[in-house]
């Protein structure tokens, strides 16, 4: 951590000394990077890779790569990841060229379909071979998109994890909690897409803003790498007087953090705060205090930066990694609902199947979630306690009603010979 003596005026354009490439893969990825066409992301080269010429044609990316063979007959991968993968292997040199020259490659893809799931792992490998740091930013499909897609997505995710420096994965299913039931399908994808951009922006800020307390890309990678874990992230913003409190509330109720559960369960958390010039230490402190209270067991990496453009807003990005072997994905999909939604709609122009940020919860909803999460953490605590095996119930005799004498995890009220397993007969 280095602290610069004076506040650097954060100019997104001037800050990245390293060359960044954002590569969108597949329909979802391509349409997503289209939305990244803002000043903030001007420092990076956007590359679109797809097997579908149509989506590329409408893309605003600086570089477009159309992967095509005769076998496809212009039909794309048809949702088959294997086909996407073999195609990518075939065009490996093209992919490598696309990544060349970059210091950091950010791969954005919606997993589950043919192009995203198939190409992304190969692309990650190609980028790695060019010597760039690779961070993959992927989404998992909705449950209703069916078994096959989630299996493909899982497989692909594992492959990406194996080669990329870091993977941040967002199960789209969690977005359901964010969005009103009656939202039309189109709106749903649009909204979730918009939210994802917010999240990306948070990560972007992490990487490019000159920080007062800098988070290096290495920190980010170290957090998400080699943990065989699912990282969840959230990006929230608030403004005004009570902004630090609002931030904390939003984080705790955030659906992408499982309403704070992700924080409690995580074993590594990265927090980045970006505020206007009026950002105070007390605010940083308050936010950090609450976050660390929620994740007692986690290693916390913290960064802070000042951006004059934010005025009186405070934005916080949280990436939480937990060491869980199996990500919580489709146990049993409810029937094969592969209709227009699954096969094409999911990958269509609005097919951003991912989701982050600030849910606009009503006050009661938030309070409800807050109390829920509080109750949960209280209930989560006894989990740590060593349980007594049902077969070895030893009466505590005269100490039944007194406070147990626990020394280094042993209940000394239980007879020593019982604990040491000395047979008496």
């Amino acid at each position: 951590m280095n602290t610069s003596p004076e506040i650097p005026a954060a100019q997104p354009e001037s800050s990245p000394a390293r060359i960044l490439k954002i590569i969108g893969v597949g329909d979802a990825g391509v349409s997503l990077i289209n939305t990244l066409d803002t000043v903030e992301f001007a420092g990076a080269t956007r590359v679109a890779i797809n097997t579908d010429g149509l989506s590329l044609a409408s893309s605003s990316a600086e570089v477009k790569i159309h992967l095509e063979t005769k076998l496809m007959r212009g039909m794309g991968t048809g949702g088959d990841a294997e086909r996407g993968q073999s195609l990518a292997e075939e065009q490996f040199s093209t992919l490598k060229m696309a990544c060349s020259g970059a210091d950091v490659v950010l791969i954005i893809a919606g997993l589950g379909g043919g192009a995203g799931s198939g190409i992304s792992p190969v692309l990650a490998r190609a980028a790695r071979e060019t010597g760039a740091l690779v961070l993959a930013f992927v989404t998992l499909p909705f449950l209703c998109e069916g078994n096959r897609r989630s299996k493909q997505a899982q497989l692909s995710l594992e492959q990406i994890k194996a080669v990329a420096d870091g993977v941040i994965c967002l199960p789209s299913q969690k977005a359901f909690k964010l969005i009103d039931e009656n939202t039309s399908l189109l709106d749903m994808f649009r909204q979730t897409g918009g939210l994802l951009v917010e999240g990306l922006r948070g990560i972007w800020q992490l990487l490019t803003r000159p920080g007062l307390i800098q988070i290096h890309f290495d920190d980010l990678c170290a957090l998400v790498r080699n943990r065989h874990s699912e990282s969840s992230f959230a990006f929230v913003e608030a403004s005004g007087a009570g902004r630090s409190r609002e931030i904390v509330e939003k984080l705790i109720t955030h659906p992408l953090l499982d309403e704070g559960r992700a924080l409690t369960d995580s074993d590594a958390v990265l927090v980045s705060l970006v505020g206007g010039t009026d950002l105070t230490m007390a605010e940083v402190n308050r936010v950090m205090e609450h976050i660390s209270r929620h994740c007692e067991h986690a290693q916390i990496i913290m960064g802070a930066a000042v951006d004059a453009a934010l005025k009186n807003r405070l934005s916080v990005t949280v990436i939480a990694s937990k060491n869980v072997a199996a990500p919580e994905l489709p146990a049993a999909p409810a029937g094969d609902l592969v209709g227009p939604v699954g096969s094409r709609g999911g990958m269509g122009s609005v097919g951003v199947r991912a989701t982050p940020p600030a849910p606009s919860f009503s006050l009661e909803q938030r309070e409800q979630a807050l109390s829920k999460s509080a109750g949960r953490s209280r209930r989560a605590a006894p989990k740590m306690r060593q349980e007594q095996l049902p077969l070895a119930i030893v009466s505590r005799g005269r100490f039944d009603k007194s406070e147990p004498t626990v020394h280094k995890g042993e209940d000394l009220d239980i007879p020593t010979f019982v604990r040491r397993g000395v047979a008496m007969n």
């Binding site: 505590r396 005269r398 100490f399 406070e403 004498t405 000394l412 020593t416 010979f417 019982v418 008496m424």
Partner: protein
């Protein structure tokens, strides 16, 4: 008959018995024990009050008995406290000497002691004792009185004993409810060590282990000062409970077996020996294996000493204990307990003798009464200091006046 101020009473509310010791402080300052009252304790578990009504009755009985024996009226007591919530640790306070001539004044000493006591205790805890170990002036250690020395920085090492405020107040309130004034509360381990150790032994380094019924308190002295204290909520009750569980006999019977046939080491001669338990009519009820009985006891006591040994090891104090280990409390009565402790602690172990007091000696020199005698001794040292005659307990400083008056 007696001038009231020269009467000092130590009251110990123990897990198995409640004991009040009445001491008379002579003109030369020596403490003479003139009375003792005790009652079986029924409402205490692991050194802490579980049933206040029963305890109140028992305390009253003990006090009345002590009053009768000493022929005095008891108005105030020094109260012994114990329990797993009591902890000790060492803390260092620093204070810069600001006077122009760099001479350390009494105020500087007061400030540095205050700094050493300003520690981060949990909100619900109170300091019971803060004992000065030694001063350092400009980093040079081993100074007992720095007043008048020259230096830029003065530091002090203190041993702080603290406990849960509410649980301490439970005992204080109960005693106050009997119209007795609590002069001060004293941790049981510290009181025992005061009664047992001579100043030579404190200088050499000694460990006092007070094995009570509910708790085991231990105190380490080295270089004349308290280095370490600990309370373990394991004691004679645990031994009885283990026996009751292992031999499948009721607790009262287990207690009796412990007293009659117990041993800290398994006696080889007892191998295969059995005892026949009889009911009140003399009919045989059950047979128990003596070897098992002793093995169960031995394992429990062995574990107790092992925990203490591990604690001393981690505190790095094992090499300081040149005067050895002194046992007291009811647990010290267990046959062979010194031999067992010697085997585990790897140093000479003896049963402590309360040498430093006079009075009803033969009746009092019992390991069970050590704590109560130590409490009276604490009081006598305290009042002697207040008289300004000597300053033997200079290091022991009360922090509880305000606390007691709450």
């Amino acid at each position: 008959m007696f001038d009231e101020s020269s009467i000092i009473v130590g009251l110990e509310i123990g897990t198995s018995k409640i004991c009040a010791v009445v001491g008379e402080q002579g003109a030369d300052g020596a403490l003479n024990i003139v009375g003792l009252g005790q009652a079986r304790s029924r409402g205490v578990r692991k050194g802490e009050i579980a049933d206040a009504a029963l305890v109140e009755e028992d305390v009253r009985n003990a006090i009345v008995e002590a009053e009768k024996m000493a022929d005095v009226e008891i108005r105030s007591v020094y109260l012994g406290v114990s329990g797993a919530h009591i902890r000790g640790f060492n803390n260092r306070g620093v204070h810069p000497v600001v006077s122009a001539d760099r001479e350390i004044s009494r105020d500087d000493v007061g400030d540095v002691v205050k700094n050493a006591k300003a520690i981060n205790l949990p909100a619900e805890n109170t300091i019971i004792h803060a004992v000065r170990q030694h001063f350092l002036v400009d980093g040079h250690g081993g100074i007992t009185d720095p007043v008048g020395m020259l230096g830029a920085r003065i530091e002090v090492d203190m041993h702080v004993v603290h406990g849960n405020t509410n649980r301490l107040q439970n005992a204080i309130r109960l005693v106050k409810g009997l119209q007795l004034k609590v002069e001060e509360i004293v941790s049981s381990g510290l009181a025992s060590s005061l009664a047992l150790l001579t100043s030579d032994q404190k200088e050499l380094g000694a460990l006092v282990i007070d094995i009570g019924a509910g708790t085991t308190d231990y105190v380490v002295y080295a270089d004349g000062v308290i280095k370490h204290t600990g309370v373990l909520a394991v004691g004679g009750d645990h031994v009885s409970n283990d026996l009751g569980h292992g031999l499948k006999v009721p607790l009262s019977r287990a207690e009796k077996l412990k007293l009659e046939h117990g041993s800290a080491l398994v006696d080889e001669a007892m191998t295969g020996r059995t005892l026949t338990l009889t009911n009140e009519h003399g009919l045989p009820l059950k047979t128990v294996n003596v070897e098992h009985l002793q093995r169960i006891m031995s394992l429990r006591l062995e574990e107790l000493f092992q925990i203490i040994a591990a604690d001393l090891e981690s505190a790095g104090l094992v090499d300081y204990l040149r005067a050895g280990v002194f046992l007291c409390g009811g647990g010290a009565r267990v046959p062979q307990v010194a031999a067992l402790a010697e085997r585990i602690l790897q140093m000479p172990v003896s049963i402590g003798q309360t040498n430093s007091i006079s009075g009803l000696k033969s009746a009092l020199d019992q390991p069970e009464f050590v704590t109560a005698i130590g409490l009276a001794k604490f009081g006598s040292l305290k009042s002697r200091r207040a008289d300004g005659k000597t300053s033997l307990v200079q290091g022991i400083k009360s922090t509880l006046h305000g606390f007691l008056r709450r």
